[in-house]
């Protein structure tokens, strides 16, 4: 029995309302008006051009990171190293851009983006090959590699890459000088932060969709994710599959990093990854691990993050409430997913009598997710 569209929406709404209801208690304790708070949080991002463009600007890195997560996940890897891969991509792109400043922008921009992708890809190749050839679990290696990337980036930013004026003024803040304006990603609407990267991200989503479902390599990757043993039996090189998945996954995170640099900050500075590495995972999973599904999911998450910050300002509450409510949303929505995936089982849970006709296993969508931790 397929869950109807209406039922899906109702489930999602109930889950969100549930999270908000719990959050309201927290708000009431600090004497904040939950209605005003939620008004700012839910409608703020959509109420004007500023909110909408800012949401899209936030959705851009989320989408790019999310695409990488989708590729990895489909190949049977949970990539929680996107934070580090973003930093490495941003670093690689920035180094290229700073050293080839004289090059015309039309050439330098693609080169910088490519370098960003390559930086992330190489950093993704590390856990990829460790997993494929040394059986080092990717959760372990990526957690460690995130911390390493953070230190490595700060080292370069305060040393070889630092903006010379930071030294001459003695402020010493670890950031590079501004990149040449010729390679900034064009702002699509003046006076907003919506930049060309948003379009790039959407194009990439389509590209990844075609790659995963319309090419042989994409098929192989998905086969590896669906079952390594079966894939091997079918003559697919599982190791190469795992490695290429992580290379691509890291590449997209790296692209997200350099797009943030070129579109938002115009220079590299600490804090560039801004937690997108983790929220990107959530966005990817909410997008049903489908490249096109990640588009609305990233947009929704961008709005949620922005709206939550707006709520903090609307009713003057501790910033920590924002994170609490975001966490609640994730828990409620992911928890409610079963009502969509397996309505029968969920009904049984609720004590409602199981429908007579036991549904086929088809309650999973076609693109059923592979087991999270591959064997």
């Amino acid at each position: 029995m397929k869950t109807s569209f209406k039922a899906q929406i109702i489930t999602l709404l109930i889950a969100v309302l549930g999270a908000l209801a719990v959050g309201a208690v927290l708000l009431l304790i600090v004497h904040a008006n939950p209605f005003r708070a939620y008004e700012a949080m839910l409608f703020g991002p959509f109420s004007d051009l500023y909110g909408l463009t800012e949401t899209a600007a936030k959705a851009t890195p989320l989408l790019l990171v999310g695409l990488g997560i989708v590729i990895a996940f489909r190949s049977g890897i949970l990539n929680i190293g996107a934070e580090g891969q973003m930093m490495m991509g941003a670093l690689a792109g920035t180094v290229v851009a700073l050293n080839l400043q004289r090059m015309p922008g039309i050439l330098l921009l693609p080169l910088t983006l490519l370098a960003g992708f390559a930086g992330g890809a190489i950093y993704g190749a590390i856990p990829g090959s460790l997993k494929a050839y040394f059986k080092v679990n990717e959760i372990l290696s990526t957690i460690m590699l995130n911390a390493i990337a953070q230190q490595f980036m700060v080292y370069l930013l305060r040393g070889p890459l630092i903006d010379p004026t930071e030294i001459s003024y003695g402020t010493g803040f670890p950031q590079t000088q501004q990149l040449p304006e010729s390679i900034w990603l064009v702002r699509l609407i003046p006076q907003t932060r919506l930049h060309l990267g948003f379009v790039i991200a959407i194009l990439m989503a389509i590209l990844v969709y075609i790659f995963l479902w319309r090419t042989v390599i994409g098929y192989r990757l998905r086969a590896v994710g669906a079952g390594p043993q079966a894939a091997r039996a079918a003559g697919i090189n599982v190791e190469t599959g795992l490695l290429s998945a992580m290379v691509l996954s890291g590449g997209f995170a790296g692209l997200a990093g350099i797009v943030e640099v070129l579109g938002i900050h115009h220079r590299l500075l600490d804090g560039i990854s801004a937690g997108y590495g983790f929220t990107g995972i959530v966005a990817a999973l909410f997008g049903r691990l489908h490249p096109l599904g990640v588009i609305p999911a990233a947009f929704l998450f961008g709005a949620l993050m922005l709206g939550a910050d707006m709520m903090q300002r609307a009713v003057a509450i501790p910033a920590a409430i924002v994170q609490t409510i975001q966490g609640l949303m994730v828990l409620f929505v992911v928890g409610s997913d079963i009502f969509i995936r397996k309505p029968d089982w969920a009904r049984q849970l609720l004590g409602i009598k199981l429908l007579k006709k036991k549904s086929a296993m088809g309650s999973y969508p076609n693109n059923q997710s592979p087991p999270l931790v591959p064997k």
Binding site: I80, I139, L331, K342
Partner: protein, 311 residues
């Protein structure tokens, strides 16, 4: 500098620091091991640690007793474990994502509660070191190993206890079955759901205690983000230790030893950029695993929700 590093007092210093640093990793990772052995993995350890750290601190501050504080932290751990169980076991949610949700919720809630209950940085007595009679008097070893507060001893004692539970009791066998072949466990009449819930609660309690160690047994204060990513390292150490308490002990000690060493190397005068020192434990942990045997084993049903009806 090398000379100084090899001095007795320095070595004692490094080892003592390593033991203290290892304690929260050990507690949280042993707990997470139970989760994963039963087939559930919890990426939200960091969130549970933060909440445990705060609740433990707050209750200690209000009641004046760190023992009541630790009990409160344990209670918070139970609740967080049940929450994770509800979402990940009963509602069969994707565990990677529910873990991240739990992480955000825990970190946020701890920060929020801190603001509304205390709201300024203050400190408490905390647990004082207890010198173990006789053993504590052994030169060097006594200082390094037998002059800590009870939570440190507890964490290290949990290693053989966990090993015993897991490999020498029927209950341990049940846990492992639930993680390896839940279908078989079900056929044998075991309640996979109950086993997994229990293990999640154990894991969460351990994580909350790890957090409470930071506030009650280590820094004796609470500040925003006190856990600073330790929960994630603990999860990584479970993989390092290959779901074996002794392996986890090795991983926690190795990571903490390198960390302690790099702090001391910095203090004694370092000629390379400090960032590379800070990186050292992370780099070496990966390398150690690469160089170790390539044989790997993990609970076969890890991460897969169990559903008697079948999918």
């Amino acid at each position: 500098m090398i000379n100084q590093l090899l001095e007795f007092s320095t070595i004692i210093g490094i080892l003592t620091t390593a033991i203290r640093l290892a304690t929260p990793f050990l507690l949280a990772a042993l707990g997470e091991m139970f989760d994963q052995r039963a087939g559930v993995y919890n990426l939200g350890v960091e969130g549970v640690m933060m909440l445990g750290a705060f609740i433990g601190f707050w209750v200690s501050l209000r009641t004046g007793s760190s023992y009541i504080g630790i009990l409160a932290a344990i209670f918070a751990g139970v609740l967080m474990g049940l929450l994770m169980g509800l979402v990940s076991i009963t509602l069969q949610a994707e565990q990677g994502i529910s873990g991240i949700g739990l992480f955000m919720f825990g970190v946020g809630l701890a920060g929020y509660l801190f603001r509304i209950t205390i709201g300024y940085i203050t400190n408490i007595e905390g647990f004082q070191p207890i010198k173990i009679p006789i053993l504590g008097d052994i030169p060097i070893l006594g200082t390094v190993f037998f002059n800590h507060n009870w939570m440190v001893y507890f964490a290290f004692l949990m290693v053989p206890i966990s090993w015993f539970i897991l490999f020498k009791t029927t209950w341990g066998l049940k846990i492992r079955t639930a993680g390896m072949t839940p279908e078989a466990a079900d056929t044998l009449g075991l309640s996979v759901v109950a086993i997994r819930y229990t293990c999640l609660v154990i894991g969460s309690v351990a994580a909350a205690m790890a957090g409470a160690f930071l506030t009650l047994g280590h820094t004796n204060m609470y500040a925003d983000n006190i856990s600073a990513g330790r929960g994630f390292i603990a999860v990584a150490l479970v993989y390092f230790g290959r779901w074996n308490p002794w392996g986890i002990l090795g991983g926690a000690l190795f990571f903490s030893f390198v960390d302690a060493l790099q702090l001391w190397v910095q203090v004694l005068g370092l000629k390379i950029p400090y960032e590379f020192a800070v990186m050292a434990p992370y780099v070496l942990t990966i390398l150690a695993l690469v160089l170790a045997a390539r044989r790997i084993w993990e609970p076969a049903a890890l991460g897969k929700p169990f559903n008697r009806e079948g999918d």
